[in-house]
């Protein structure tokens, strides 16, 4: 295939400049264990001949990597035995995508996805509507997973002491290991896993422990340090009063996508059903859940216990004591038919957890709005135990399946020392990270999209992971590693997983693969954990000059698992719009008190450990608190670390809040790069907000006269409606747009210069101030104006209207005057100031490109086209089958990705279409409609359901 073709070219180029000798040694060494040299000479016969003279190790590794890569590409076909999701053609039709159901495992839990593959290349993931963990929605991490799949910085070959080795050699090593320890019942051998729900992994571990009872299993997850035996599962769509006890249930945890869907479903205010749930939120540092709340109360992050006990007391006495928040809450819950649910955070203190349970029971939520199930996660001893075991010598050899513990271990835990004590450390992971480099052996992991595996959703349903592509970089699954440890060297990855499900006959198995879900595998409700009585911890009294530092996983990088994903690096953070780095976020008051300003560099030190970060002023932050995102600064071979690793500040006793942190201003500046620089609406009618009481508003449509003719849309007239009340600002749509439309990553410096290339942006504004300061989100794609200002000024007809009313951009015709962008009141056009796209064919990322979307060259304008490739495909299909396009059968990438179903798209000529109905709602409005550009994209106003909303003018 062409890719190997040009890979060959560049390799030859490298070889010209190469010197001989050690290369053959290495190749010999490899070929001794078979595989590589044959594959290599098969891929590059003429190079294999011309190879002579010494090649330094780097070149060798490059060559091998490239060879393995191209081998992977050559094997660029779905591996056999897997089933397409929908009725597939008898054989693949070139140019027609096929969809396969599989799952991604994020923080241990499965999110069901449908993988779009073009000629065997996965190019895009969509949520699997049948999967409870997705319900068709996705988030930015799922959307950009394909980047990680192809990215060149993945680990590409087995290493022994940093030197290339082979899978065969590793298997031999495992056999040795097994011989050593089976006799000793496993004493001294350990397996370290991350958060895991895979039934196959559980089965394998159980089997291992059966024959090696003393085998130690450790578990380390920086995002969910605690792993309670019983976990809650919420049904927010059944609640009408939701009380978040500083829980970010919309953005964190395995159920986030389902929560977002349920939550938004409970708040769809329409003409026929003008009711919505009410969300109370206690909030330490700003979170997507907090900004979605109708009533919010800022608390000091350390003081959650106090706040919760205050609420509990008030509800007990029924006396509306305290502030508005409590008074209203008491009033609401006093009402007879109030269906309330209380939500504690993932890392809740025992007291908060117990209180939440008690309140849920008291208000009859248990069994309805919340059920409790046995945790689907595999239990394991915490990292502290591992360290003590290593120090005490109880642990001699360790197999690490995944987690980059050297990066994510709390700073006060000497994990490096512990691992160095061990006789052998075996590491299995996607990247050559610090842990991999310290380990004696490293085995490249197969990406979820290359793997046979399985996993459970947040509510226990199991689903099978089937590979959409053969491993590109010769990765293996963790099941294969454990199989080797268990002495099984023959079973394929598929057989290992199949073996876990004897209950399924082949038909059921095939069905499970097709639907991406194993029917009826959801966990049954169990009794809630026994009520414990714990006293609330009294918060460390905030001495006025004390500063708390809150460490939170980054919304995209999580604990660093995705820190090598540049799509995520350049995706603006939902609340701050920061890209390419983490910062010390603080409120203006705090900054004033510390005498620092935006872009100043400060040194945060807590008990002897320090991190150095630039300051970012974040108005939503509570006074005296600094928030720092975790997951940055991960050191992966082949890519420069992004940001600063803040885990060094973390403490082993968990809890993300550090008090008494000293802040020192350094004499330096670092520009914090964001994609939005102004945060007030300046009193303009941009994001409309109205109180629920004022619904339905009298719709004011200024009948604006126009001199221009009406253009007919002979077939469809595409239009879009965005419900600002459903949007939670999670940025999944932006990520989806970037992947679907081949938008490039431009890098930190370019973004700093205002050259970012996202076609769709989510604007974030602040309204109000003080305690009732509100954060408003507004996704802004191209408005597809019917009287488009951009088109009139283009001198070369490069942007014109299509027959179905889309404001098209003809890249080939564009000469790059940028006048269209000048004249766009929404500033949604993006320009290729440089050659941002890498057209080199041997760049593995070129496999990620969506073949239905042209890649833009330097000097042309580009913009959102309502995913014209999708609408066109549907129209062609309709013409072939001579049947009309049914409403909802065409989805734009942003719409499909949205977990809260905030975006509706369809044909406006069909008055019964969903989008037409949405636009008919009383609170529909067009952005800047006084300009009379007749946008095809319109919005539904955000609705605020605060008890005082009668007085609330809702600005």
């Amino acid at each position: 295939m062409s890719v190997t073709g040009s890979a060959r070219g560049t390799l030859r180029g490298r070889l010209e400049t190469a010197a001989p000798a050690r290369f053959w040694q290495v190749l010999e060494e490899v070929s001794a264990e078979g595989g590589f040299s044959h594959r290599f000479s098969a891929e590059f016969p003429e190079i294999a001949e011309r190879l002579s003279g010494a090649v330094d190790r780097r070149t060798t590794l490059k060559l091998m990597g490239a060879a393995l890569l191209s081998a992977g590409l050559a094997g660029c076909k779905p591996s056999k035995g897997i089933a397409p999701y929908v009725d597939q053609p008898e054989f693949t039709v070139p140019g027609k995508p096929r969809f396969y159901a599989t799952s991604l495992v994020l923080d241990g839990y499965a999110i069901g996805v449908l993988g779009e593959t073009h000629e065997g290349r996965p190019t895009k993931l969509e949520g699997n509507p049948a999967h409870p963990g997705s319900l068709g929605g996705t988030d930015a991490i799922v959307q950009t997973a394909v980047y990680t799949l192809y990215s060149a910085d993945r680990s590409r070959y087995v290493r022994r002491g940093g030197q290339p080795a082979t899978w065969g050699a590793f298997q031999a090593e495992m056999a040795e290991l097994r011989d050593t320890y089976v006799s000793r019942g496993g004493a001294g051998l350990g397996v370290l896993i991350g958060a895991e729900t895979s039934p196959t992994l559980a089965r394998q571990l159980d089997a291992l422990q059966a024959e090696m009872p003393a085998l130690a299993v450790y578990r380390h997850s920086a995002t969910t340090p605690r792993n309670p035996a019983v976990v809650p599962v919420y049904r927010f769509d059944r609640a009408d009063v939701i009380v978040s006890l500083d829980a970010d249930f919309l953005a964190e945890g395995p159920g986030r996508l389902a929560h977002a869907r349920q939550f938004s479903d409970s708040r769809r205010v329409r003409r026929e059903a003008a009711k919505m749930s009410r969300l109370y939120a206690l909030e330490g540092v700003p979170s997507l859940t907090g900004v979605a709340a109708d009533v919010r109360r800022k608390i000091r992050p350390g003081a959650l216990d106090e706040a919760v006990s205050e609420i509990a007391a008030a509800l007990e006495s029924g006396a509306p004591a305290g502030d508005k928040f409590i008074a209203w809450l008491v009033a609401d819950l006093g009402a007879a038919a109030s269906r309330a649910v209380f939500v504690p955070p993932l890392d809740a203190s025992l007291y908060v957890e117990a209180t939440a349970l008690a309140l849920n029971q008291r208000f009859g939520a248990v069994g309805d709005r919340v059920i409790y199930i046995a945790s689907p996660e595999i239990a394991g001893a915490p990292l502290e135990t591992l360290v003590t075991d290593a120090e005490s010598g109880r642990l001699e050899q360790l197999v690490i399946l995944g987690p980059d513990v050297l990066h994510t271990a709390p700073g006060d835990l000497d994990i490096t020392g512990a691992l160095q004590r061990l006789a052998r450390v075996y590491h299995h992971g996607l990247h050559v990270d610090r842990t991999a480099r310290l380990a004696h052996w490293h085995v490249p992991a197969a990406h979820d999209l290359e793997s046979w595996s399985d996993g459970r959703a947040y509510e226990g349903s199991a689903s099978i992971l089937q590979p959409l592509i053969a491993p590109l970089y010769g990765g293996v699954t963790k099941h294969q590693v454990l199989a080797a440890l268990a002495g099984d060297f023959t079973s394929s990855a598929q057989e290992l997983v199949r073996g876990t499900w004897p209950s399924l006959n082949d038909e059921a198995w095939f069905e499970a693969l097709k639907s991406g879900l194993i029917e009826g595998s959801a966990a049954a409700a169990t009794a809630p954990p026994a009520a414990t009585s714990v006293a609330p911890a009294t918060a460390v009294d905030g001495a006025t000059d004390a500063v708390d530092v809150v460490l939170r996983p980054d919304p995209y990088f999580s604990d660093g698992t995705h820190a090598a994903n540049l799509f995520l690096a350049e995706l603006p953070r939902p609340l701050t719009k920061i890209v390419w780095g983490n910062t010390a976020e603080m409120s203006p008051d705090t900054a004033a008190r510390l005498g620092v300003a935006q872009d100043d560099v400060v040194e945060l030190s807590a008990n002897g450990r320090t991190v150095v970060l630039p300051v970012f002023i974040h108005p939503g932050m509570p006074e005296g608190v600094i928030a720092v995102a975790l997951g940055f600064g991960r050191e992966i071979e082949g890519s420069a670390p992004i940001g600063v690793n803040a885990f060094v500040l973390a403490r082993r006793d968990g809890g993300g809040v550090l008090s008494e942190v000293t802040v020192q201003k350094l004499d330096a500046k670092e520009h914090v790069v964001t994609t939005q620089h102004h945060h007030s609406m300046e009193g303009r009618d941009i994001v409309r907000e109205l109180p629920l009481a004022a619904f339905p508003p009298e719709r004011n449509e200024p009948a604006q006269p126009t001199l221009y003719p009406e253009y007919e849309n002979p077939e469809e007239a595409w239009g879009m409606s965005i419900d600002l009340n459903a949007c939670i600002g999670c940025m999944a749509c932006v990520a989806a747009c970037q992947v679907e439309n081949n938008s490039p990553v431009v890098g930190r410096e370019e973004v700093a210069r205002g050259h970012e290339m996202h076609w769709l942006r989510v604007d974030r504004y602040y309204a109000g101030d003080g305690d009732d300061q509100r954060t408003l989100f507004q996704p802004v794609p191209c408005m597809q104006c019917e009287d488009a200002p951009c088109e009139v000024v283009c001198p070369v007809n490069a942007t014109v209207h299509t027959a179905d009313g889309i404001n098209a951009q003809v890249y080939n015709r564009c000469v790059g005057t940028r006048y269209c962008s000048q004249n766009c009141p929404y500033k949604v056009r993006r320009f290729n100031f440089f050659a941002y796209q890498d057209f080199a064919e041997d760049n593995p990322l070129s496999l990620l490109m969506n073949p239905d979307v042209s890649v833009r060259e330097r000097g042309v304008m580009e913009k959102c086209t309502y995913c014209v490739q999708r609408t066109r495909a549907a129209q062609i299909e309709a013409n072939i089958t001579d049947s009309p396009i049914t409403d909802g059968s065409v989805m734009t990438a942003c719409q499909q990705a949205c977990p809260s179903r905030a975006i509706t798209f369809g044909n406006l000529k069909d008055r019964s279409s969903a989008v037409a109905r949405e636009k008919g709602e009383p609170h529909a409005y067009a952005l800047l409609e006084e300009l009379n550009t007749k946008p095809r994209t319109t919005y539904l106003a955000r609705i605020r359901n605060a008890p005082d909303s009668e007085e609330d003018d809702g600005e």
Partner: protein, 177 residues
């Protein structure tokens, strides 16, 4: 005027007034084949020599052609050849079309005026008999010449020389084609 006069007797005067006087005298004598050469346009001279030009008419026509062509092209391109919805504006957006039209009117007219002048004057013509006369030069700002075509003269060369001398010609010499 009649055929351009490019041979005959060339007299040089020191002032435009003298030249004009000489021209009047020649006309009294009934000589019509006259041509004057001056360093800058001398008021009244062309009229006396009966110079006329239709350049304004041609210029006007040139302007009309330029404007009509571009306006026609615009209408043809948006209505017939490639009608397409641009920003919801009317296909026939005539006010917008007026700008290129105006520019092309000016362009057409100016081109005709310039090249019309050259053609009318039969320029470029790098050599001309009058250049052979020793006395002839445009180098100084104070030499004014009168060339009398010898052909249709009923006077003899001698009389003509005498006339010129009386009119105050500084040099008199013959120019042969």
């Amino acid at each position: 005027m009649a055929r351009p006069v490019d041979s005959g007797l060339l007299a040089m005067f020191r002032s435009p007034e003298a030249l004009l006087g000489a021209v009047d005298r020649m006309r009294e004598l009934g000589l019509t084949a006259l041509e004057g050469f001056t360093p800058y346009p001398v008021t009244g001279l062309p009229e006396r020599l009966g110079a006329r030009t239709r350049l304004p008419v041609w210029t006007f026509i040139g302007g009309c052609i330029g404007g009509a062509a571009i306006f026609g092209l615009q209408v043809y391109s948006v209505l017939l050849n490639y009608p397409i919805n641009v920003g919801g504006r009317p296909l026939f957006s005539w006010p917008a079309f007026l700008v290129p039209t105006f520019e092309c009117v000016v362009l057409g007219a100016a081109l005709v005026a310039f090249f019309g002048m050259l053609i009318g004057n039969q320029l470029p013509r790098l050599h001309h008999p009058v250049f052979d006369a020793e006395s002839f030069t445009l180098a100084t700002g104070d030499r004014f010449y009168l060339l009398v075509g010898g052909t249709d003269s009923h006077l003899g060369i001698a009389e003509l020389r005498k006339e010129f001398a009386e009119l105050g010609a500084e040099t008199i010499e013959e120019v042969r084609a």
